[in-house]
């Protein structure tokens, strides 16, 4: 059971290689996996550096989104006025397609790395914010009554009841936002890359496609997919571990 995905992947790779060879597909249309692997081996440092750059943007954006998301959710749950003021903007931010505003952000922010982080943050922000807000409101009314009965202040109730109750919600938001931050980083890199900013895996993909270096493009794509998968599983496992330590899973 555990090895089923890996076996399936290997089988698919073998079929792919076979299909490319038997069908005599030109390498600039579809390279076989062996060609892709050789493209990676030809320049592992360059590709891995680009991956590191993309991941750096991803994690920076995730961190900023987590801090902003939690801070705004807490502010919102503490005051109805803040809720009325913040909620529509958060939704507006969520429904605005990132590719449409990325060029603007890149121009406004100026410093390219910061611009990438801002773009990725915009897309990673919402799940963290919305999940945390839901979690902060999740304790049953009886528990709120109990805290009131013992004269707990609003901030005490926040610290001892609402924030701990929000933790599982926050963690599942973090997992979703991890994937989104990567998407945001890549989208921003593509936009910035067409503007001549050479960094990140998305730029390598762009560059390879201009030069019709399909194997290299596929190698970059694979790295990206692998990073996405590892990010998703890593955040999932970390969240599970934290919840288990808290006796919640």
């Amino acid at each position: 059971m555990k090895w089923a995905p890996a076996l399936f992947g290997l089988l698919a790779l073998a079929l792919w290689e076979a299909a490319v060879r038997i069908g005599d597909v030109p390498v600039y249309i579809l390279p076989g996996p062996i060609a892709v692997a050789s493209a990676f081996v030809a320049d592992p440092v360059g590709l891995l550096q680009s991956l590191a750059s993309t991941l750096f943007v991803t994690f920076a954006a995730l961190l900023v989104a987590a801090v902003l998301g939690v801070a705004m959710a807490v502010g919102m749950s503490a005051s109805r006025l803040a809720q009325a003021a913040i909620q529509p903007w958060a939704v507006a931010l969520q429904v605005t397609p990132l590719p449409a505003i990325a060029p603007l952000i890149i121009i406004w922010v100026g410093e390219p790395f910061a611009a990438l982080v801002v773009c990725a943050t915009i897309i990673a922000f919402f799940p963290l914010f919305a999940n945390t807000a839901t979690g902060l409101a999740s304790p049953p009314p009886e528990l709120n009554d109990l805290f009131r009965l013992y004269g707990a202040s609003r901030w005490r109730t926040m610290a001892l009841l609402r924030l701990p109750a929000a933790l599982p919600y926050f963690l599942s938001g973090l997992r979703i936002s991890g994937g989104l931050a990567l998407v945001g980083a890549v989208v921003a890199e593509l936009v910035a890359g067409t503007g001549g900013f050479a960094s990140g895996l998305a730029y390598r993909i762009l560059e390879a496609s201009f030069r019709l270096e399909m194997p290299r493009m596929f190698a970059a794509l694979f790295l990206l997919a692998l990073a996405g998968i590892l990010l998703n599983f890593g955040l999932g496992a970390a969240g599970q571990a934290i919840l288990r330590r808290r006796g919640l899973a």
Binding site: P140, E142, L143, D145, L146, F147, R148, L149, Y150, G151, A152, R156, L160, L161, P164, L167, R246, G247, L248
Partner: protein, 244 residues
């Protein structure tokens, strides 16, 4: 201890939950509030706890009004913090009063022992049975040594055996602690077994219809006592006429 005088409570949306309700609680009472669903029992309990304010009438305390910790509240569900151990759940009221953990632990462990949970101090709610969770909830309400213990159908979700055990234990705790108990239930048997005073409420808008005083001497055999059967019969008759 407390005089509830002609209290009324209407909710937004026009629901009149309580009308002209009067009741006196004296030190050491064990009062069962008995009535059909929706008659305002929980509303009355919340008024007593100060979690809600009446629209008409007033609640007057003899002497000083209750401070934080003078009232313990047990809800229908155990409503524990799922991430906290049994001892941390029981520690919560003391913590909210500003007491330190080390300072509070002897008290916390004593009250857990009192409700029969010695050895489960470090267990999380999900590791405990429904009855044990309710015991933690009762311990949490008792840990501040409240003068008044309010219980809102605390055993309704438990099976019969567990309920009987917890009822007997509650009586023991009540006698030891010497506090006043107001116990909401819609079980005539439970009211007859536990209470010294059975207060019958009418359907919405809830009013107090009559009060039955129990003269049972409570013991493990109470349920087999003909006097208990007579009290159940009297309460049933009273409830039927309150429902008219």
């Amino acid at each position: 201890m407390l005089t509830i005088g002609h209290v009324g409570r209407r909710f937004a949306g026009g629901v009149e939950a309580l009308r002209d309700t009067s009741l006196r609680l004296t030190e050491g009472d064990f009062v069962a509030l008995l009535g059909p669903s929706g008659c305002g029992k929980s509303t009355l309990l919340r008024l007593i706890a100060g979690l809600d304010q009446p629209d008409d009438g007033a609640l007057t305390w003899d002497g000083r009004p209750p401070a934080a910790g003078d009232i313990g509240y047990v809800f229908q569900d155990a409503t524990l913090l799922p991430w906290a151990t049994a001892e941390d759940n029981v520690f919560l009221p003391l913590r909210l009063r500003g007491q330190g953990r080390d300072d509070a632990m002897p008290q916390v462990h004593a009250v857990l022992r009192r409700v029969g949970l010695a050895g489960f101090e470090k267990s999380r709610p999900r590791q405990l049975s429904g009855g044990m969770r309710m015991r933690v909830s009762i311990a949490r309400a008792l840990v501040t040594r409240p003068r008044l213990l309010l219980m809102d159908e605390p055993f309704a979700a438990l099976d019969e055996f567990t309920r009987h055990k917890l009822q007997a234990d509650l009586l023991e705790v009540w006698r030891d602690a010497g506090c006043t108990v107001v116990f909401v239930t819609h079980s005539i048997y439970e009211a007859a077994f536990l209470a010294r005073r059975i207060v019958l409420m009418t359907p919405r808008p809830g009013r107090i219809d009559r009060e039955i005083t129990s003269t049972l001497t409570q013991s493990p055999q109470t349920r087999l006592d003909p006097a208990y059967a007579a009290l159940v019969a009297e309460t049933t008759r009273g409830m039927e006429s309150a429902l008219q």
